[in-house]
């Protein structure tokens, strides 16, 4: 039996992630929701979700003594970051007057702003909530059978500004273009919620549970 560990550090509702993974997992795979570092390290693949504010997330990661575990798993096995899980893998977030994050990749997380606008000066709501196009920036096994610019469900007020353009696997446009998917070796991370993105999202999760971790 293979295991897919969903890292539970107390941030947000992970039920949806577990439901969707159960839906796509094979009979030989078991989905485990856990905050136990040993269980995460023993798993064959790891999903790192998260919701809420950056500082609370980082505090929860420290409180559960999961920092080293998350970084070690990101070095070793197929690893999927979702939403806040993608954001806290970066160096630093502007949220909560500045929060140091896990520094797995370089760059910053920034706020859309209270007066966010498109190019024609139309007001854009924050959070960026709803279905937007995800533009694929490089080939990747996790894009298998997903149309370029397919719509995924997003909900976030902060966006990722990735310092290394080579890592950008997907982009999204909301007033400006921002990084919405990162691919680095065995790690893939998404700003949107595949577990809530209907057919395209389930395809991405199917690709992940079948992925060998090679880009």
């Amino acid at each position: 039996m293979q295991t897919i560990a969903v890292v539970d550090y107390g941030m947000g509702n992970l039920r949806s992630v577990v439901n969707a993974l159960n839906h796509v997992a094979s009979k030989q795979q078991q989905v485990v929701l856990t905050s136990n570092p040993d269980q995460v390290m023993k798993a064959d693949r790891v999903v790192f979700p998260g919701q809420g504010a950056a500082r609370d997330c980082m505090r929860a990661i420290h409180d559960h003594e999961l920092r080293d575990t998350i970084l070690a798993a990101a070095e070793q096995k197929p690893f999927l970051g979702i939403c806040m899980g993608m954001q806290v893998l970066i160096d630093y977030s502007e949220e909560n007057q500045g929060t140091d994050c896990l520094s797995y990749y370089a760059g910053q997380v920034k706020y859309f702003g209270d007066f966010h606008q498109d190019a024609d000066a139309n007001k854009l709501k924050v959070p960026h909530m709803g279905w937007n196009n995800l533009t694929q920036k490089k080939p990747h096994p996790l894009w298998h059978a997903i149309e370029d610019n397919a719509r995924f469900y997003f909900v976030h007020s902060y966006f990722l500004d990735c310092a290394d353009a080579q890592l950008i696997a997907g982009e999204c446009d909301y007033g400006f273009t921002f990084t919405s998917a990162i691919a680095k070796d065995n790690v893939f991370a998404l700003q949107c919620h595949p577990e809530k993105s209907a057919k395209a999202g389930l395809q991405l999760l199917t690709n992940f549970v079948e992925w060998d971790g090679q880009a």
């Binding site: 509702n13 909530m129 709803g130 389930l202």
Partner: protein, 257 residues
């Protein structure tokens, strides 16, 4: 290719069945909620909202089971409202598989509850539902107030100011229902929707009054809504969601097809 405007079918649930009334009376049965949710998902709904219209404690158990059943097979955002009064109510619905909860009356009696909920669970899952009714007379400047108890009791609170306050306290979205229009099929109160949408930073869902597809279009173009919610036009098979989306796209609105 901007963000798509969302179409959200709403299931009013009473004792485990979908019902629909006109101005909160004359209730008609519209079937099994799980069946309805499954169908809407196949038709391309962007989200689904469940409203527990009686919100008794027995009903909340039933509602949690409905959400559980839907969440294990429908992978789009699910919102649950009705009787959400305490942190434990929110936790229970999220644990059952809801992605958002909608808070209505409890926000009026205790606005800090919205703040507490947003801090605990994140603004992304806290929707504040506002039931507003026009109180200005013909010829006066438009004014709407918040009503409770299915539109029978006024609170004296200005609806537009209230929406801005809820945004400030941490609501991630506003579900705005015109009590004057609910169940009438004459269209949204687009002036109300526009004023609220312009007063807040967060997305606004227009609700109350949809009778045809032009009403959905007007909600977006005139009301500046980010999402449109409707119940009876979808329940009783008058329109399918994909048909509504195709029509909105023809009118120049960005939708997810």
């Amino acid at each position: 290719m901007p963000l798509a405007k969302r179409i959200i079918p709403c299931l009013d649930v009473d004792n485990g069945r979908v019902v629909k009334g006109v101005k909160f009376v004359e209730i008609r049965d519209a079937g099994d909620p799980v069946e309805n949710a499954r169908r809407y998902n196949l038709e391309g709904a962007d989200e689904i909202t469940f409203l527990d219209i009686t919100a008794s404690s027995d009903n909340r158990d039933t509602m949690a089971h409905v959400v559980e059943a839907v969440a294990s097979e429908v992978f789009i955002p699910l919102t649950v409202g009705g009787g959400i009064r305490e942190v434990s109510d929110i936790r229970r619905m999220l644990n059952a598989g809801a992605d958002k909860v909608s808070i209505n009356t409890a926000a009026i009696f205790n606005p800090e509850f919205v703040q507490e909920a947003a801090e605990k669970f994140g603004s992304q899952c806290i929707v504040v539902a506002i039931d507003a009714k026009k109180v200005s007379q013909l010829g006066e400047v438009d004014r709407w107030e918040i009503f409770t108890h299915g539109g029978r009791k006024t609170t004296g609170i200005d609806a537009v100011e209230w929406a801005a306050k809820m945004d400030f306290l941490g609501a991630g979205e506003i579900l705005l229902t015109s009590m004057d229009r609910d169940g009438t099929k004459i269209g949204f109160d687009n002036e109300l929707t526009r004023q609220v949408s312009e007063a807040v930073r967060v997305p606004v869902i227009a609700s109350g009054g949809v009778g045809n597809l032009d009403h959905l279009v007007d909600g977006v173009l005139k009301g500046k809504a980010d999402a449109v919610l409707a119940a009876s036009i979808f329940h009783f098979g008058e329109y399918r969601i994909e048909q509504a989306k195709a029509y909105m796209q023809q009118q120049g609105i960005e939708v997810r097809l």
